[in-house]
Amino acid sequence: MAQYKMHLLVCGGTGCRASQSEQIVENLKSEIKNLGLENDAQVVTTGCFGFCEKGPIVKIIPDNTFYTQVKPEDCAEIVTEHVLKGRKVNRLLYEDPETLKHIEDSKHMGFYQKQLRIALRNCGFIDPENIDEYIARDGYAAIGKIITEMTPEAAIDIMKKSGLRGRGGGGFPTGLKWEIASKNKADQKYVVCNADEGDPGAFMDRSILEGDPHSVIEAMAICGYCIGATKGIVYIRAEYPLAIKRLKVAARQARAYGLLGEKILGTDFDFDIELRYGAGAFVCGEETALIHSMEGHRGEPTVKPPFPAEKGYLGKPTNVNNVETFANVPAIFLKGAEWFASIGTEKSKGTKVFALAGKINNVGLIEVPMGITLREVIFEIGGGIKDGKKFKAVQTGGPSGGCLTEKHLDTPIDFDNLIAAGSMMGSGGMIVMDEDDCMVSVAKFYLEFTVEESCGKCAPCRIGNKRLHEILEKICGGKGVEEDIEYLKNLSRVIKDTSLCGLGQTSPNPVLSTIEHFYDEYLAHVKERICPAGSCKALKLYTIISDKCTGCTACVRACPVDAITGEKRQPHVIDADKCIRCGACYDKCKFTAIHVQ
């Protein structure tokens, strides 16, 4: 990278590409060429910067200028002003929502200030399709050191000391997992990378694979060396074409450099990877289901034990870790277990990547040290709630997690605290909700997902979640009774207690946590037949304020079910029994004479 004076980093993540970032790259390149600056400035397509809300992003180094929401037609200006004349294009700079001042340097943006990037260390800095850029940032140095200087036992020891826990949801200590797999003797073992990211609203694994595929490949090779496996398999969602492409390119380059394949770096260690595609089944995030899927079967989980470390893919010992877990590994070996263990809380070491989404100003991908509070994440990094509304809750852990409220805002985030609060880390989705969100509907939304994704093998998950969803629908539909809440609670507990795999064991969490923290809201639905957030259609009551009604009949014409009656130029009335709560009258009324309760 050194020979150029300036680098223009353009985000090539899925989100920014959807907003024409590829065209931006093209335009920047041609402008640079037009002005004869090819030897001074280089355009690099990188992985995700994380700040998806303001994409497409163009970052210019060395001065860390951060242009947001760049359009292809802005490119000429960026090149002539910034690259040629050294003047920043102010209108494209990030504007601090509070001070309304333009921030020139990304290091001073609230979004980045509190972040600590380990797993995402290279995302947005390097060209993921160029292995040299990864190597320039000490890539493949860890594997080199390990296979030439360390025994597998010593390397596993470092992993154990680092305190790294699985980032896919369970939080099982990674070093221990490797140790178990290494102790099971077999002629063939497998390293599997779980990249079947399926939480609705989580996209960290995809971003890592798109932005820094080599770190995952390197980590898989390290794991292979530690447990005695020569084969690695990445199980990746077929819906991630860009990640697949970049992973393939990276593997090809690694092979060409002797970093994958036979006799890696001249040692006796052989390791290579292949790709398997998921086909749209959330349950395949569960290790045994994932393994069955890789074997060409329906992705149904099986009873554990035996654990994959004993009997996994094709009956051989198999170590499964997720993408983010792997992405941490090379950094741990480069900087040491002590360094990693110094970050985070007592039992949760290092950082965690979260996908911030929902009613928040700065939607995007962030990486923060364990132990940070929700308040810091939501209000400092996330820039607070959208449109100045009031914070209501945040769902962590996707459909397996629970809702956390105001009172949890200052709880340090780590594996154990989240579980204690009735939620979980999950893979790191973080959906923020505001006062307009009905918590019963939110629980219903997650259950709808679970019902859709339940594999159907065990009865409590197959039928129980369906029943939970039906009861929630009943409550949102204004037909709930108080006993329904008790039944929801009992059913939820039994489903958690008896389900075969992690999906069913966690799927009632959204129900239980919303009941716990928003009991009044449930009560309002079943007793007063009111949705306090005003979002449940069936619980809305439309009435006409007779003082304001002019009798223009616009609403009568708009009503699809003839529920509104009245004489011309006289106040009208709505028949509540006929009304289907579609809101058409409300939209049509020019005199704000329709009242919604």
């Binding site: 089944a281 329906r298 149904e300 099986t302 009873v303 034990p305 019902v451 859709e452 994704e453 339940s454 594999c455 159907g456 093998k457 065990c458 009865a459 409590p460 197959r462 039928i463 129980g464 369906k466 029943r467 039906e470 009861i471 009943k474 039944y487 009992n490 059913l491 039994v494 958690k496 207690d497 008896t498 389900s499 075969l500 064991q505």
Partner: protein, 587 residues
Amino acid sequence: MEKFTIKIDNTEVEVSKGTTIYQAAKQIGIDIPVLCYLNLEHLNIESRPGGCRICVVEVEGRRNLAPSCSTECTPGMVVNTHNMRVMNARKTVLELILSDHPKECLTCSSSGQCDLQHLSQVMGIREIHAVENAEMSTYRKDVSPALKRDMDKCIMCRRCETICNDVQTVGALSAVNRGFMSVVAPAFEQDLIDSPCTFCGQCVAVCPTGALTPYDDTAKVLRALADPSKTVIVQTAPAVRAALGEEFGLEPGTLVTGKMVAALRSLGFDKIFDTDFAADLTIMEEGAELLGRISKFLAGDKDVKLPILTSCCPAWVNFFEEYYPCMLDIPSTARSPQQMFGSIAKNYYAELMGVKREDLVVVSVMPCLAKKYECAREEFSTNGNPDVDFSISTRELASLIKSCNINFDLLPDEDFDNPLGESTGAGVIFGVTGGVIEAAVRTAYELFTGKKLDKIDFKELRGLEGIRMASIDFNGTMIHIGIAHQLGNARKLLDGIRSGMYNFHAIEIMACPGGCIGGAGQPLHHGNSKVIKARSEAIYREDSQKTIRKSHENPYIVKLYEEYLGHPMSEKAHHLLHTHYFEKNKK
């Protein structure tokens, strides 16, 4: 073997490594309820998907409840099988299952035999907590000539899937769809008749509910019995007498031949005949065919097809027609005993009695569901009139007896009618795996060597091992024999032959576990494989009690050849007693 102690419900029990909690509890008299779990120990059949979650127990130190059927004991484990947490969970899960199950027990054909019904009785379920109008998973009903599928009643225990794929290797069924709409079905959720299904019916035999049931023709039988213009005769298969008693509360393995005959007479059948007679006839034809092929082979004929495969089992015939179309010339062309009987009845016997073919109704009582399909095969009818009109199962006979107010216990022992009711011990053992080939050996040995057998029992051909092999000394010529029961074992044997791994002269195959005694029309074993063992012992007991134990010594068989057929493999015999096989129409 490593042994250690665990504690279940405050009782210590010593277990060996690998024992499940369910098994350990059983050792000390604690019967944890199960629903999807199936273990037919004597037959090496196990299905434990861990899906129903009825057998959950609390294990101290474990976060959630553990399925006892598939959780192995570990040293020092402390288990509680019935505290409030467990009972509430078990009951709630059962209610969930019932909430997606039709409430039509009163009219369900499995009522009284249904494991789900029994469980909900045992657990004292009196109401089902669920949303009003809770959605039920519904599927298209499917009626085939042998069995019916009403998958609304399926609880996804997956036993049928295990049997169809892992045990029988037929592959007609698979779990399809996902979540609430998941169900076990043939490809594209088409009808069984359009699938590779062999109608062995073993899925029915293990179904814990009324989702899979036999196709029932008893109503038509009753109608025929009531029709004065019809002569209705019945044949009973060997395995039926060894199991029918179970339906009337008798111990498994009780022989009820005489009572069965009396009951049939009481039902109004004009003649009570025995499929065993036709079994003796089968031996005459099949034995002759076997000897013919062996003699040719020994004389140096290289084109002769060996081994000869038995063809008595209709599910097996369906299986090789589907999966081994290139080997259609290997099985014996002899029809099954059911069809030989039908053919002899509608030709020889009708002639003898002066009854018109269409006025003679032949009913068979079979331990088998595939027989229902077999008697409907086109090649076994003349001008649209089938040789065997209706085939009913052992269970259906029992319900017919019950519905006609017959007190089975009080019935006297009666004898079969002649001429088609006389049989030998060789005919009886057709009902059990290894029996057909033993019967064949008894006759073939004497015909081949011209010597009398001094020992009639061939113990080396008996047993419940899935695949068995034996060599019999035919006076200096060793005859190599292979035996398989369950179609998966048959497949292994056949693949071994195809690859040249095995060299047999003759092979006997039966589709069901244990042979016909384990047929899908028999009283349900409810997962207890001891029942099958007991039936097998009963069959051999009946054989040993017979005075004549070799088919060729059956006087009525001798007479039939003298008066009507001529000799085995004669042209007439060919026409009436042999068949040919078809490659199944592949889609």
